[in-house]
C-alpha cells in the first residue's frame, strides 16, 4: 500500500504523480468572496435617511390638499347667489338642533362660506349613517320630487352626477349646494386622513430612540 497516495510521503507513485500534474489545472483558484452588506447596518442607515424624506413628503401632501381646498372653496357667482337667496337656511335650522355653536350668530360678512364649512364639518362629524335619518331639508325636498331630479348621488355617498344640474327650476340651486357640501365633506375627510398620517409619522419619529428626539436633534413634532 503506497503511502504517497495517502499523505504524499514515501516513494512517489508515477501514475499518481502523472494524474496530479494532469488534473492540477482544474484545482481551486483563490477568488475573493463577495459577501453581502450587513443587514442590521443597512436597515438602520435606511431608516435614518428616509425619516426626513417621509416627513417632507407628508408635508407636501398636506399642502397640496390645502391648496385644493382653497381653490374649491373659493366663492363663485353661483355659490354666492345661492347663499344670498337663503337656500341654506333649512340646513342651519337642522344644525341648530344638535350643536350649540351653531346657534351663535354668524359674524363673518361673507357668511355663506362659513356656513358651508360648518355644515360640511357637522356632516362629517356625525358620519354618513346619521345623514340617513336627518337629512338637510333640501335633500328631503329633492326626494319628494323624483321627476325634477332623476339621480342625486350613489347610495354610498359618492358625489352626484353633474348632469342633474341642468334639471332647472327651483331645485337647481339646492342641488348645487348639496354637491358642494358632499365635495367639501370628502375634502375634509381627506384632510383629516392626511393629518392622521402626519401624526403617525411624527409619532414614529419620536418613538424610535425613546428619547423624544428626532434624528437631527430637533424637537419632535407635536
Amino acid at each position: 500500500m503506497s503511502d504517497y497516495l495517502w499523505d504524499k510521503t514515501g516513494e512517489p507513485d508515477a501514475e499518481v504523480e502523472r494524474l496530479e500534474a494532469l488534473l492540477g489545472g482544474f484545482g481551486h483558484t483563490p477568488r475573493p468572496l463577495a459577501l453581502p452588506a450587513p443587514a442590521a447596518t443597512y436597515g438602520r442607515r435606511r431608516s435614518w435617511l428616509f425619516a426626513p424624506v417621509g416627513l417632507a413628503a407628508a408635508a407636501a401632501l398636506v399642502l397640496a390638499f390645502l391648496a385644493g381646498v382653497v381653490i374649491l372653496l373659493r366663492p363663485t357667482s353661483e355659490g354666492t347667489s345661492a347663499a344670498a337667496s337663503g337656500t341654506l337656511r333649512p340646513q342651519e335650522g337642522a344644525l341648530s338642533k344638535h350643536t350649540p355653536e351653531a346657534r351663535e350668530p354668524t359674524q363673518v360678512p361673507s357668511g355663506g362660506m362659513v356656513k358651508d364649512e360648518r355644515v360640511a364639518l357637522e356632516i362629517h362629524r356625525r358620519g354618513p349613517r346619521d345623514m340617513k335619518g336627518e337629512q338637510p331639508a333640501s335633500l328631503q325636498r329633492r326626494r319628494q320630487k323624483p321627476a325634477a331630479v332623476a339621480h342625486v348621488g350613489t347610495p354610498d355617498g359618492a358625489p352626484p352626477a353633474f348632469e342633474t344640474m341642468s334639471a332647472g327650476g327651483g331645485g337647481a340651486p339646492s342641488l348645487f349646494e348639496s354637491t358642494r357640501l358632499m365635495t367639501k365633506e370628502q375634502l375634509v375627510y381627506a384632510l383629516r386622513l392626511t393629518g392622521a398620517k402626519l401624526r403617525d409619522v411624527s409619532l414614529r419619529t419620536q418613538g424610535r430612540d425613546g428619547s423624544g428626539q428626532t434624528p437631527g436633534g430637533r424637537a419632535p413634532l407635536k
Binding site: 497516495l5 504524499k8 494524474l19 494532469l22 488534473l23 492540477g24 481551486h28 463577495a34 453581502p36
Partner: protein, 191 residues
C-alpha cells in the same frame, strides 16, 4: 471477514477522534457568528478547495467557480443554523452537494460542454477525459479522488475537512485509485 476488521478499525478511530482537540474552524465559526466578516473569509480560504472539489466531482468545470461562491453565500446566511461549529466542513460540503443537485435540476443542457472540450489542446482534452472517468466512478470514490488528485489535499486533510473517518478516506482512496487505473487502462487499450 474484511467487514469485521474494518468495523473494529473504525471503532478504534472513533474513540481516538473523540479525544481529539476541537477543530480550529469552530473558533472561526463562533467569531463569524459574532459578526466578524474576516473570520468568515478565513473559513472561505480554508474550505474553498473542499467545496470546489465536491462540486467538481459533480458539475462541469466552467460552472464550479460561481457555484463555490453561491455555496459560501448560502453558508454565510445560514451560519446560525449550524449546531456544531466544529462540523463546519461537513456542513458546507452538504450544502455543496445539494447545490450541485439543484444545478442539474435547473440546467441539464450544460452536459454538452464536455464534447466541445475535445476540440481543445490535447493536454486539456486528456485532462477532461480523465476527469470524466473520475466522475463516472461511484460517489464515495470520485469525491475523495478529486480532493486528492485535483485539489492536492492529503488523506488526513480530506478526513478532517469532510468529517469522514481517516480509515474510510484511506479505503476510498485506494479502492477508487485501483478502479481508476483499471478504467484508464481499459480506455487506453480501446484507443
Amino acid at each position: 471477514m474484511y467487514e469485521v476488521e474494518t468495523g473494529n478499525l473504525l471503532f478504534v478511530e472513533r474513540r481516538q477522534e473523540a479525544a481529539e482537540v476541537q477543530s480550529p474552524a469552530a473558533a472561526l465559526v463562533e467569531t463569524a457568528r459574532a459578526g466578524d466578516r474576516t473570520a468568515f473569509e478565513r473559513l472561505y480560504e480554508l474550505y474553498a478547495p473542499l467545496v470546489h472539489g465536491v462540486l467538481l466531482a459533480r458539475v462541469p468545470y466552467g460552472e464550479v467557480s460561481d457555484l463555490v461562491q453561491d455555496v459560501f453565500l448560502s453558508a454565510f446566511r445560514k451560519l446560525e443554523a449550524l449546531r456544531d461549529p466544529a462540523r463546519f466542513g461537513p456542513w458546507v460540503a452538504i450544502i455543496a452537494r445539494n447545490r450541485a443537485a439543484d444545478f442539474y435540476r435547473r440546467a441539464r443542457e450544460t452536459e454538452e460542454l464536455h464534447e466541445s472540450l475535445a476540440q481543445c489542446a490535447s493536454h486539456e482534452a486528456e485532462a477532461s477525459e480523465v476527469l470524466e472517468i473520475i466522475r463516472a466512478l461511484p460517489e464515495a470514490y470520485r469525491e475523495t479522488l478529486v480532493l486528492r488528485l485535483v485539489e492536492g489535499m492529503t488523506g488526513p486533510e480530506i478526513a478532517e475537512r469532510t468529517g469522514l473517518r481517516p480509515g474510510s478516506v484511506r479505503v476510498n482512496l485506494h479502492r477508487g485509485m485501483a478502479l481508476l487505473r483499471k478504467r484508464l487502462g481499459v480506455k487506453g487499450e480501446k484507443v
